[in-house]
Symmetry: C2
Amino acid sequence: MINTKIYNKLNYRKTLGAISNFKISKNVFEFNKNYGTKNQSAYQQSRSILNNPARYTIKQTTRFQSSIVSGVNRNTLKTVSVDDLAYFKEILPETGILSTEHLGGNNEDADLLKYNTGLLIEHLGNSKVVLLPTTTEQVSKIVKYCNEKRIGIVPQGGNTGLLGGAIAYNNEVVLSVSKMNKIRSLDTDSGALVCDSGCVLENLNTYLDDYGLIMPLDLGAKGSCNIGGNISTNAGGIRYLKYGTLHGSVLGLEVVLPDGRIIHNLSTLRKDSTGYDIKQLFIGAEGTLGIVTGVSILTAKKPSNVSVALFGLKSFEDVLEMLRISKVKLGEILSAFEFTDRIIMEKVLPILKKANPLGSEHMYYVLMETSGSNREHDEQKMTDFYELLSEKNLIENGILAHDESQVASIWNIREMMTYGLTSSGDTYAFDLSIPAYLMEKSIFDFSDFLKNEGLYSGIPDTYTDPKHVVKFISGFGHMGDGNIHLNVVVDKYNDDLTHKIEDFVFNYTKNLKGSISAEHGIGVIKPRFLHYSKSEEVINIMKKIKNVFDPNGIMNPNKVLPQ
Amino acid sequence: MINTKIYNKLNYRKTLGAISNFKISKNVFEFNKNYGTKNQSAYQQSRSILNNPARYTIKQTTRFQSSIVSGVNRNTLKTVSVDDLAYFKEILPETGILSTEHLGGNNEDADLLKYNTGLLIEHLGNSKVVLLPTTTEQVSKIVKYCNEKRIGIVPQGGNTGLLGGAIAYNNEVVLSVSKMNKIRSLDTDSGALVCDSGCVLENLNTYLDDYGLIMPLDLGAKGSCNIGGNISTNAGGIRYLKYGTLHGSVLGLEVVLPDGRIIHNLSTLRKDSTGYDIKQLFIGAEGTLGIVTGVSILTAKKPSNVSVALFGLKSFEDVLEMLRISKVKLGEILSAFEFTDRIIMEKVLPILKKANPLGSEHMYYVLMETSGSNREHDEQKMTDFYELLSEKNLIENGILAHDESQVASIWNIREMMTYGLTSSGDTYAFDLSIPAYLMEKSIFDFSDFLKNEGLYSGIPDTYTDPKHVVKFISGFGHMGDGNIHLNVVVDKYNDDLTHKIEDFVFNYTKNLKGSISAEHGIGVIKPRFLHYSKSEEVINIMKKIKNVFDPNGIMNPNKVLPQ
């Protein structure tokens, strides 16, 4: 629905001769109609493209920096034998085990493919046994047995990670929590939700909707990812700006330790000051310290009004100034501030077969979301904000979306951006935390580096030398949280190039005291880069803590920690 | 300033015959004028009363449950010798050491009294050496030496804790960070503040004020407490409802480990997904794993409008319903929801020599605060909220305070409540997390228990049997966070009574899966009660983690962990 009040106010600005033009655009409706986001979430669309079987054969894949899956040294752990499988059959029903024939199982390799392949080309596991328990006690029995026999276990949720953290590269047992998907309790007063770790994020939101609540995180993979996996990778996503880190919203965890003991710590308390907060260690541990089987999390009141706006701006300075003003003027209702450069917009729109929703091209774009409890107030704040932006000549154009389908259609552009990259060539995708004001500079410096190395002309899609293998560089991301997704698209991956690019980007990030993984974890790809973000002292403490929990090293071997 | 718009609206309700009467009361002004809170914070008032030297001789003291300081077994650590002191003199200037004559120092025991006495009667330490370093390197050298020599260290900040966590009971060295009080940096865009751990909370707020920012926590002791101590006890306080736990807002810590190594982890990043989040362990560790010397914390935009209202209600059911409605109607601007029963109000007002600001007596009182970015919107939301409460007959009376001094004067009543108890007799004060809807029931059940034990008549200040040692029971607290301060005031402490009361309250809390310490930590008083809130598995892991960091056990011995 178009809000005529705002519309008139904005038109009023227009007649006053403001340069900017904040359109409640019919484009949004067209865009939405064609893409039908009302009944099909943006994620599902992305997923259907990504799930194209051809993706394993075409070159357009994304790599998280490295063509080399590191740390996958064959370890000393035992692989599953026929006897072991027989034991698992005592614990789990037939439907709870997938295993191949040579172990006395009933399945083809193909049946296990779903658990052995992730989203990216590096994600190719070789597990012969996938266990699908439905209770914490089953998990405990399995883990206890594996610990005694020194069998490696790879815990898995929705298998939507990008760093290979849930892939069994050494024929470990895959223990999927995906069949543990019951909601255990909801305190509608406090908002504390207790559920199994295998619950799909989107399903939790659907459940909560009846009670006027929402999950405190949201991400592109919501239709498949499990809450246990979100917690284990310390996932970020698009609600982070408003609801903050999982370290704050997770109230308690039930965890099966690597020796099979169960930590029953599903506290629903908001406040607890009784010594070391052990559960924090499992947030971001990617299953290397134990398997999260139950989750207690603080949900939030569902905002009664969500608005999304897309703006076009002429410079990064203007984007920065807009971010500053948005924090003051929109304050408590600002829930997302995403920026992107023009290149990615030019790449993603043709894939979506759509014109630019603004009807005009800009140097930078900002997608902004507000979530509040009073529509009239929120719209007034947004209008005041818009008027201030106009007075300061900060924006060149803008559209505002109110209803759910409009909102989804604009978010869809944001969520499809990665595909805009991978459709153009092999992509090195970085997930960095750096200060917001340095984001443009980081893109420029990266570009200069590649130019000086003779790998890039410095102008997107332009080649003045046969050695120019870089097609373009592009940055977008959660600017409000200081999280940039920095990408370089090349003709074809090669190891020399990979090392050069990684070396530059990680050193650059280290010099800015940034994070080499803002929201996607470490998995199997980044342990050898961990030292760029963590000091030797901290890595040593991490190793000692790993040893406290998992002295036999059976739990998600070779993940997170460097060798 | 009285907001006439709201005033008229509320009067309008009144003329419609609403039972409730939401007064913008002149009482508030009177109250404020007499107490002069404009130039003297409520805390300072409380402090001046609590600092009365007589408090160590009079019986009106508060005990956190136990008359027995537990876990203070003499340990095997060395105490400081003349040689040790000579070494400390190489590291620190004369002004950085307080020590008594027998060690070759220049001070009387009295000079060390400030560091050897806390707020409560149990807090009497016996340290002969207080070290006051000004740099992290000095801390590191001191700690390294003490570790080699096996000298126990008690880290101390503002020494405002209530559980004796910062008191040296076994003649350990007190290492006070209070002279480390520099602000290191502020990123005004992201709000990341980096400072020394000895900065006083209120000073940080004063500094931030110029940049339109505030600290994400606030507590009664703000004029003395240090941010390092807040983090080490995982402090809660009155902004918790809006800004949440320190586990979410602390971005990084600089910590001197028990072997003297320094963890430089003053990240200013909002997002970081690079493995185990080690800094989380120090939040709530009360200095048992290392000494926090530097802090990076996410500050919040200072709300441009803060309003505080005090309501009188007839029943706890109405308080609960009001809490539910406030979360929906006030949403993102609700920043505090405190409740109290009538008894504490009757006790505290005479001490403040004031009439009830509502001009009427009620069964329950609610103090509610909103903090928002737009005064007009906030007041509209508060008015809508008030009107809904009136329609539902949920409130009997109310006053609304807008300007800073009015707000402070109402908060002052809340902050003085503990003194309302201790002026009436010896007080057992519990700091519990339990579900909000069970708070009244917990008071009733506690009352019934004491009645059945023959210790209480069941009616406040009424004695029908000579064995009635209990004067009254009272509950108040941060209801919006599920944190109740449950108190029993008795004629005089005795150990038998102490054990009976503790046993009942802690078992009761355990049965509700509550926390025996919501926001005040464990210190030296509660380690032996830890098992009521933490399972054996978790306590074992805590001990192992302590051993990873501090194998020699020099760091704050006998605190937090049970023997």
